[in-house]
């Protein structure tokens, strides 16, 4: 058997952590794009659109991410497409992220006073112009902190992709454990890696929020 030093463990985990980062970024960006589209639908005067988005959010916030990952994995296969842990994880995490982001952003848009919509409307701006030039710029300032904060949830969420066989930090942890039989050390290191990834982002989010509150007083 090959002897694993602590250095070997850390190196293996670091290599796998790259995939945690990549998957997180794809899910976050993809989720942002899908979430933005859903947000427009959610805010539009269309009642059906609104109900659809509400149902979508309910669905993804009311079921475990793990189950969503399984559904994506087996769902893609069922459609006769070639499924891989990659595609399933990307799909599930993107949709999951979009459902949370659309809720966060809706809250931010609703924090913009009604009078702003009315002023835009009375200046003959269309719904989309009003959204684009009056409401969203204001909502955006409020949205930055919670959006950055949610990135932490996405990073932690990617850990579940290990269950469907996606090799990222957590999966690498299990593999290294099986090779070294040192679960205490390995999982401590895995936790530490996540902490190093997430904690700075949490701090940034907290600071942004504090700044925003200071500006509003």
């Amino acid at each position: 058997m090959v002897e694993f030093t602590l250095w070997d463990i850390l190196r293996n985990l670091a290599l796998a952590a790259r995939w945690t980062v990549v998957l997180s970024l794809i899910a976050f960006l993809g989720g942002g794009v899908v979430g933005a589209a859903l947000l427009v639908l959610r805010l539009s005067p269309s009642r059906i659109g609104r109900a659809l988005v509400e149902g979508y959010v309910e669905l993804f916030q009311g079921t475990p991410l793990l189950v969503q990952l399984f559904l994506a994995y087996f769902g893609i296969a069922l459609l006769g497409l070639n499924t891989s842990a990659w595609t399933a994880a990307t799909l599930a995490l993107t949709l999951y992220t979009s459902a949370f982001l659309v809720e966060i952003w809706r809250g931010c848009v609703e924090a913009v006073p009604r009078g702003q919509w009315e002023a835009g409307t009375s200046l003959a701006l269309s719904f989309s112009e009003n959204l684009r030039y009056v409401v969203l710029p204001q909502a955006l300032t409020i949205a930055i902190a919670p959006t950055v904060g949610f990135l932490v949830q996405v990073i932690k969420g990617t850990a579940l992709a290990s269950v469907i066989g996606f090799v990222e930090l957590t999966k690498a942890g299990s593999m290294v454990t099986n090779a070294t039989f040192r679960p205490f050390v390995v999982y401590s290191c895995v936790g530490l890696f996540y902490f190093v990834l997430c904690y700075p982002i949490s701090l940034v989010a907290k600071n942004l929020e504090r700044k925003l509150h200071a500006a509003h007083r």
């Binding site: 009375s122 701006l125 009056v134």
Partner: protein, 245 residues
């Protein structure tokens, strides 16, 4: 002459509560109309119906010959270009400078090129006495200044009629005068004005016609001197005497 605003049989309810119970009103070009009445009499709602901020259930409404059709974005866009509105709470866009607040709608709706819109904005700011505030952000302006920017913003769309919804109610007393002077100058220049107001002496001085609303109806209407000097209905008499207490 074609009336600027023509309202026929307008009825509006919030749920089961009827707020406007059949309003008929015509406003001629250049006319200044003041609407008074207790809170809850429906006067603000009437004003908000005229540019479609509130939907009404019965009756018809045209502005400058343009009909108000709810659910038809093109018709609403055409109508709203003819109607300007000033709000009690100013509603300036906080992320845009005073000048940009004024330039936004002409640029988007009238496709005005930026330099032209900027010139127009400067001209309008001068007209409301804020020549040097083009780059000022709204939170740096006093309430009176913000409201004057809001007036300039509405004027930039070159409306045929301007709706003023209690535009001095949110102001500190010492700032009311500067806003009313601007409105007065607009009236003198021949702008058609429809205003809901609590400033009785101002209404009396500036308006051509006074409307007293009571329980969702036009209860009494006439020249301000007539109404103030000799109110015909007990409701108006009571309303006017309550103001003096």
């Amino acid at each position: 002459m074609q009336p600027i605003v023509e309202i026929k049989g307008l009825r509006k309810s919030f749920g089961t509560h009827e707020v406007l119970k059949g309003i008929d009103l015509t406003v001629q070009p250049g006319e200044v109309v003041a609407i008074i009445g207790r809170s809850g009499s429906g006067k603000s709602t009437l004003l908000r119906c005229i540019n479609g901020l509130e939907a009404f259930q019965e009756g018809s409404l045209t502005v400058d010959g343009k009909p108000l059709i709810h659910g038809d974005p093109n018709a609403m866009r055409a109508l709203r270009q003819r109607v300007g509105m000033i709000f009690q709470s100013f509603n300036l866009f906080p992320h845009l400078s005073a000048g940009r607040n004024i330039m936004l709608a002409p640029g988007l709706v009238k496709r005005k090129v930026s330099s032209e819109a900027a010139d127009q904005a400067r001209g309008l700011l001068a007209r409301v006495g804020l020549t040097d505030k083009f780059d000022a952000m709204p939170d740096r302006l006093s309430g009176g200044q913000q409201q004057r920017v809001a007036i300039a913003r509405a004027l930039a769309m070159e409306p045929a009629v301007l709706l003023c919804d209690e535009i001095t109610s949110a102001l500190d007393p010492e700032l009311v005068g500067e806003v009313l002077r601007v409105v007065e100058s607009l009236a003198e220049e021949g702008m058609t004005l429809l205003m809901v107001t609590h400033e009785m002496s101002f209404a009396r001085k500036v308006s051509d016609r006074l409307i007293f609303m009571h329980q969702g109806r036009v209860h009494e209407m006439g020249s301000p001197d007539e109404l103030f000097a000799a109110p015909k209905t007990p409701e108006l008499r009571q309303f006017l005497s309550s103001l003096h207490e």
